[in-house]
């Protein structure tokens, strides 16, 4: 019973979408079912986000209670959750500081703390890429050599200074590089080889995703349900 009922629900919920695709939504009754099911899915989907919040709260609460090493940091996380969540839930009619609109604590904390940190966290990658460029990217085999040569060409093409440098080649040696070398990079590398490979990978990935979806719908693939 613990797996049959969910499998049937997964199949029905998916089958409605597959069938309604082949019917005119306004003419067939299936269209009305599909639209209602989609609304329900957006509602249930919202709760999965709250699931993550509850598990973070629980993990940090245990860490604080058991005074694990560095539990002060966990306490900080707990405080941050409530400082952000509580004012947002209270009705904004009581005071402009509540709710989610501009000028609320929620909005202020998001833009000036959360937003800043997230933008900075990924900014560090520029440093990592530079050091990896020097210390790790080696033309160690023919494939990596071709990759690095194309990468250098595309990097040059992507910046104004580099483009001017490339145009030097095509202006002075037109018989070798024909007229506009930078345009050639866009046409033959980006819209030629790149499109071909991205398309091949897209088709492969789409077949993989469709295969996984078919197995989930028919209950063959159930790992997402977890053990027990």
């Amino acid at each position: 019973m613990r797996t049959i009922v969910p499998v049937i629900i997964a199949f029905l919920s998916g089958f409605v979408m597959v069938i309604s695709f082949f019917f005119n939504p306004d003419r067939a009754f299936i269209g009305r079912i599909e639209s209602e099911v989609l609304v329900w899915v957006t509602i249930v989907g919202g709760f999965t986000l709250l699931l993550g919040v509850v598990s973070i709260t629980r993990v940090n609460w245990h860490a604080v209670q058991s005074k694990k090493e560095g539990w002060v940091y966990n306490l900080l996380t707990l405080l941050s959750i409530f400082v952000m969540a509580i004012p947002a839930i209270l009705p904004s009619s009581w005071s402009p500081l509540l709710g989610r609109a501009t000028g609320s604590i929620y909005d202020w904390l998001f833009f000036h703390v959360d937003y800043t940190m997230m933008a900075t966290m990924f900014a560090m990658l520029a440093f990592y890429i530079a050091s990896a460029a020097y210390r790790a990217f080696r033309a160690r085999n023919p494939e990596a050599t071709l990759l690095l040569i194309t990468a250098t060409l595309v990097m040059l093409w992507r910046i104004p200074m580099g483009e001017a440098f490339l145009r030097l080649f095509s202006d002075n040696l037109p018989w070798l590089f024909s007229d506009n070398l930078p345009d050639k990079i866009n046409t033959y590398i980006m819209s030629g080889a790149n499109v071909a490979v991205q398309r091949g990978i897209l088709i492969g990935a789409a077949l993989g995703a469709a295969s996984m979806s078919l197995r989930i719908m028919l209950g063959i693939e159930r790992t997402y349900m977890g053990k027990g």
Partner: protein, 278 residues
């Protein structure tokens, strides 16, 4: 470790310092460069520019705060273009962490500049969970998925939303995104409802969407900060991206030099090794 191996394994913090300097340098010595417009950026600009007066365009804020340096200038330049062309803008976000708040801030600040009225010229629908169901659901009725806008006003009370039932009433979808949602806007919305989709994406994901440009499923593509700078130039809205291109050039040249020097050290070390072992 012979000399070249040591050069090749320089402590990474020296390189971090070099990166910091090469970013700060253009700040002190401001540089400006002529930015060339790629055909894909031109295609997106013309697709929006050719829309008739007061046609309805859906502008999506599908990016996380982590990539605002690339994506936000695109959303701002797009909104400049829409407000200037007197198009109606419906904004929404499929990103739960910050999406609706960023959409709210960008639209409200720009609306003041163009004296646009909320509910008539633009509406922010905000976020609803499970983007696949959201994209598919809006095909039949936007109101079924979004009973109210981001601040809770029922759609029936907003003049703009009264004449927009689903994708058939939307002339163009301008997706600004840093994740795979672009593929779903194309494979669900464009493939099944025919609404033209154009996108501004982060540079890391741009190469993939060339496949949709060349198959005609996507009308126009902006790639990374350079794409944002191109659209700012086309719309003549002086923005953040254009200023950033100076720094971009210096750091790029430095990285190219890094790759070349790193490989020189690599081959020299191997050559020295071979010399010693013969």
């Amino acid at each position: 470790m012979n000399f070249w191996e040591k050069v090749g394994a320089l402590d990474r913090r020296w390189i971090y310092l070099l990166v910091a300097l090469s970013v700060i340098f253009p700040l002190i010595v401001p540089m400006s460069f002529k930015i060339s417009i790629t055909p894909e950026a031109q295609q997106l600009y013309e697709a929006v520019d050719s829309l008739p007066d007061s046609s309805v365009v859906m502008l999506t804020f599908d990016y996380y705060p982590s990539t605002v340096a690339e994506t936000e200038p695109m959303a701002i330049a797009a909104l400049h273009h829409l407000f200037r062309k007197n198009c109606k803008a419906i904004t929404l976000s499929t990103v739960p962490l910050g999406g609706p708040s960023m959409a709210e801030r960008v639209t409200r600040t720009l609306a003041k500049e163009y004296h646009k009225v909320y509910g008539i010229d633009f509406v922010n629908l905000g976020y609803k969970a499970n983007y696949v169901a959201v994209l598919k659901g809006m095909g039949t009725s936007i109101e079924s998925i979004y009973p109210t806008d981001n601040s809770g006003t029922p759609l029936s009370k907003l003049a703009l939303m009264k004449k927009v039932k689903n994708y058939n009433d939307i002339s163009f979808i301008f997706v600004v995104a840093d994740n795979d949602i672009v593929t779903y806007w194309i494979s669900i919305v464009n493939a099944q409802y025919g609404t033209p989709v154009g996108a501004g994406v982060t540079a890391v994901s741009a190469p993939k969407y060339y496949a949709f440009i060349s198959s005609g499923q996507m009308t126009g593509l902006l790639g990374g900060m350079k794409g944002a700078a191109e659209y700012e130039l086309l719309v003549r809205a002086q923005g953040m991206a254009e200023k950033g291109m100076g720094m971009q050039s210096v750091v790029h040249l430095m990285i190219i030099l890094m790759v070349i020097m790193g490989n020189i050290a690599f081959f020299a070390a191997r050559w020295a090794q071979k010399g010693r072992s013969e």
